[in-house]
Amino acid sequence: MTTTVDVDQTAPGRDPAAKPSAPAPRAARRHRLNFTPYAMLAPATILFLIFMAAPIVYTLILSLQKTEVQGLGLGSGARKTVFAGFSNYAAAFSDSDFLASAGRVGLYGLILVPAMLVLALVFALLLDSKRTRLAGFSRVVIFLPYAVPAVISSLLWGFLYLPSVSPFVDLTTALNLPSPDVLSQGSVIFAIANIALWGGVGFNMVVMYTALKAIPTDLYEAARLDGASEIRVALAIKIPIILPSLIMTAIFSLIATLQVFAEPTTLKPLTNSISSTYTPLMKVYRDAFIRNDVNSASATSIIIAVTIFALSFAFLRVVQRRAFQEENS
C-alpha cells in the first residue's frame, strides 16, 4: 500500500521533462504485440495468484459456507457443505467470547506498543550517545531475545512465572517479601506483554539505531557548538529526524499485537486464566482445529485481516499527514 503511494508521489518529480513526450512512443508501441513484459511479469504474477490470491479467495469461499448434518451424523454422506451467506460473520460478531477477545487485545496493545517503542527508543538513543561504553556488546545483548522463537521464550518465561519452579519466587521468599501470582486473572495480560516486550524491543531498537546512525554528524556538531546537551540533541534533532522509523516500528508492533497468538497459547496449559478464546487468533485456531469448523474460522480470519488492514491504514493516514507534510512541501 505504502509503496504505491510513494511511487505516485516521486515518479513525476524525478524526471519532469520526460512526461510530455511520453504518450507518443507509448501509443506506437501498443500496436506492436510485445510479449516480453508479460513473460517477465509471469513468474511473479503466477506465484502471487497461487500463493496469495488463491488462498484468500478460498478463505472467502469457505467463510460463506457451513457444514450441515443429517440425522445422527454417523456413517458416510451424513455431512454436506451448504451455502451459508453471511451467517458465519453474523455469528462471530454476536459471539461474546470473540468480542471480549478483541477488547482484550486492544488493552494488550495499549500496554505493549507504547512500552515497546519507548524502551526501544531509549536503548537506541543510549547506544547512539558518545558516552556509552561497550555499545557493541550491549546492542547484541538487547537484540539477542529477538532471535529466540516466541514459543521458546514463552516456555522460558512460563517457568519463571510458575511459583514453585521460579527463581524469583525463591528470592522473594528468602527475603520475606510477598510474591505476587503473575499468572492470575488480573495480571496475566502483563505477563504476556512482558514476553512480547522482551522479544521485540531488540528488533525495534536496531531499526531506530540504524536510522540514528544515518544522521549526518555535522548536525550534532552544530548543536553542540551552540551548547545543546545530549538530551536536548536527542529531543530536538534525533527524534524528529528518525520519526519515519518510529512510525514504521509502531505499525509493525501494532500488527504483531493484533496477531498475538504464540505467547498466550504456550502459557495456556499452565494457568486457569487463559481461555481458548483469549485472543482473536486463538479463537480462529480453536474453531479450525479443536471444533473442526473451518467455515467460522475463515470468517473470523477475514474479520481480523480486514481490521488489521483498516487500523494500519488509518494509523498511517493520521501520522503520515503530520510527519511527512513538511518533507513533501
Partner: protein
C-alpha cells in the same frame, strides 16, 4: 456482489460434488478388495499411533507376517492426530490404513466419515474378549463396529502411603472421607494438597461424573440428547467446587512444570487418576518409587463399587484404506493376540482392553509399584466396575468448553461458579450441535 455469491455457490456445489465422488470411489474400493497379499508381493499398510513402544509390537508382526507389512508412524497424541487425520480425509488422500483413536474421539471420526464399520470382518470370538463397557465405545450402541479396543483407563485413587502413615490417615473409601483427608493433609502442612482440580483435564472430570452415573450424550432414533448438566455432574462439580472454595485442594492445572515438581517434591500427596498413572509418576517423580499406593476411587455411597474411565484407545480402519481385510487382520492380531498384548504390557506399560490374553503379562505387576505386587489384579477388579457412558459427535466442543468454563470457575474459587460452569458447558455443547444441523432432544 451478486456475481461473487453465485460464484461462491458454484464453488461450493463443485466442492460438495468432489467430496461425494471421493467418498463413493473409496467406498467401492473398500468392498471390492479382499486380497491379503503374499510373501513376494506383500500388502502394505500404514498405521498411525502414539502408544509407547508400539513400533516394537509392529516389528514383531512384520517379522512373522511376510504377506502383510505394516509401516508404523508415530504421531502426536490426541487432538493433533485427529486433526491430521480429518485433514487427510478432507483432502481425499494421505490418510493411513489404521489409526489409533481415543474412545471419546470415535463419534467425531465416524461422523466425519473418517473411520469405517468393520463388523463383517471381525469374528464374534474377537469381540467376546472385551467387557461390555469398553465394547460400547466402539459400537456407539449400534450394530456397527468402528474399531478394536486397544487399552482402557479405569480410574483409581493414588496416594503417598508414607505420608498417610506419618499423618495417621486411612485411605478414603467415600468422597466424604476424601474431603476429610484432604483437609487434614492441608492442615498438617499448608503447602501440601491431596489433589488438585485441573481445568485442563476434561477427560478426568468426565470420568468422575461417569462414576457418579452421568452419561453426557445419548442417541434416540435420529436425534441426540445432551445431559452434561445432569444431577450427577452437578453433584461432582459442587463437590470439587466446595473443596476448591475451602482451599483444601489445589486449583492449578495438571501436567505443568509446577505440578510435576509437586509430585516429585511430595506436595501433591494424592492423585485421582487412571490405570496408566504409574508411567506418569515414574516419568515425573522417579525418586518416589515404592512410596505410592493405589486404591479404588472413593465412592459416593459407602459400599458401592463404581468407577469411570479416563483415557484409552481403540484402533480403527480409515475410510481411505484400500486393504480393509488385511488391515482388520493386523488389527485383530494387534489387540487380541497373546503375543501382541503381552508385549504391550511389558514394553508399553499399557493396560490392554483384552484382559483375557494379557493375564499372564499383567500378573508380573508394575515395576514402579513394587510395594503393591498385586497392582494389576486389583486393577482388573476395578476395571470391571466401569459404568457405561456415551460420547457424542462434538466431544471436542464440550471438552474445550470445559477448559474455558472450569478454568474460570477454578480461578474464582467458588462452588457456585463450578455449577455455573457445568450449565455453560451444557449450553455451548447443545448450541454447537444445533448449529451443525443435528436434531437435539
Amino acid at each position: 456482489m451478486r456475481r461473487t455469491i453465485r460464484a461462491a455457490v458454484g464453488a461450493g456445489v463443485l466442492a460438495a460434488a468432489l467430496v461425494m465422488t471421493g467418498c463413493s470411489s473409496s467406498g467401492s474400493s473398500n468392498s471390492n478388495d479382499g486380497s491379503l497379499g503374499t510373501a513376494d508381493k506383500p500388502v502394505k499398510l500404514t498405521f498411525w499411533g502414539w502408544a509407547p513402544n508400539m513400533d516394537k509390537v509392529v516389528d514383531t508382526w512384520n517379522s512373522t507376517h511376510k504377506n502383510i507389512q505394516v509401516t508404523y508412524v508415530k504421531t502426536d497424541a490426541g487432538d493433533p492426530a485427529v486433526t491430521k487425520l480429518l485433514t487427510a480425509i478432507k483432502a481425499g488422500s494421505g490418510a493411513p490404513d489404521l489409526m489409533q483413536a481415543e474412545y471419546q474421539k470415535i463419534p467425531t471420526l465416524v461422523s466425519a466419515d473418517a473411520i469405517i464399520d468393520i463388523k463383517k470382518d471381525v469374528s464374534a470370538e474377537t469381540t467376546s474378549k472385551f467387557s461390555d463397557g469398553v465394547l460400547s465405545s466402539v459400537t456407539l450402541g449400534s450394530d456397527a463396529l468402528y474399531g478394536i479396543p486397544q487399552d482402557s483407563g479405569p480410574m483409581m485413587f493414588y496416594y503417598r502411603a508414607d505420608v498417610f502413615k506419618k499423618l495417621g490417615l486411612s485411605v478414603p473409601t467415600t468422597w466424604a472421607e476424601y474431603a476429610d483427608v484432604a483437609k487434614k493433609v492441608h492442615e498438617a502442612d499448608p503447602k501440601n494438597y491431596l489433589g488438585t482440580f485441573s481445568s485442563a483435564d476434561a477427560g478426568e472430570f468426565a470420568g468422575l461424573t461417569q462414576q457418579a452415573g452421568a452419561s453426557w450424550w445419548g442417541s434416540d432414533g435420529d436425534s441426540w440428547s445432551v445431559d452434561i448438566d445432569s444431577a450427577s455432574t452437578k453433584k461432582v462439580a459442587s463437590f470439587w467446587g466446595g473443596l476448591v472454595e475451602d482451599g483444601v485442594i489445589d486449583n492449578q492445572p495438571q501436567y505443568t512444570p509446577e505440578w510435576n515438581k509437586g509430585l516429585a517434591a511430595g506436595t501433591q500427596v494424592g492423585w485421582v487418576s487412571a490405570v496408566w498413572a504409574p508411567g506418569v509418576l515414574a516419568g515425573n517423580a522417579p525418586k518416589t518409587a515404592g512410596k505410592w499406593k493405589m486404591a479404588p476411587l472413593p465412592q459416593w455411597t459407602a459400599g458401592e463399587q463404581a468407577t469411570g474411565n479416563w483415557g484409552g484407545s481403540a484402533v480403527a480402519v480409515t475410510s481411505q484404506s484400500k486393504n480393509v481385510k488385511a488391515a482388520v487382520q493386523f488389527n485383530t492380531w494387534l489387540n487380541t493376540s497373546k503375543t501382541a498384548v503381552s508385549q504391550m504390557v511389558t514394553d508399553g506399560g499399557l493396560y490392554p482392553a483384552d484382559t483375557v490374553d494379557s493375564k499372564a503379562a499383567l500378573a508380573t505387576g508394575n515395576g514402579f509399584f513394587k510395594n503393591q505386587p498385586d497392582f494389576y489384579t486389583q486393577a482388573a477388579k476395578i476395571a470391571e466396575t466401569v459404568k457405561p457412558f456415551t460420547y457424542g459427535p462434538n466431544v471436542n466442543v464440550a471438552y474445550s468448553a470445559f477448559n474455558d468454563q472450569f478454568g474460570k470457575a477454578a480461578q474464582a474459587k467458588s462452588q457456585q461458579a463450578f455449577l455455573d460452569a457445568a450449565a455453560q458447558m451444557q449450553k455451548i455443547t447443545v448450541a454447537d450441535l444445533k448449529n451443525s444441523g443435528f436434531t437435539v432432544k
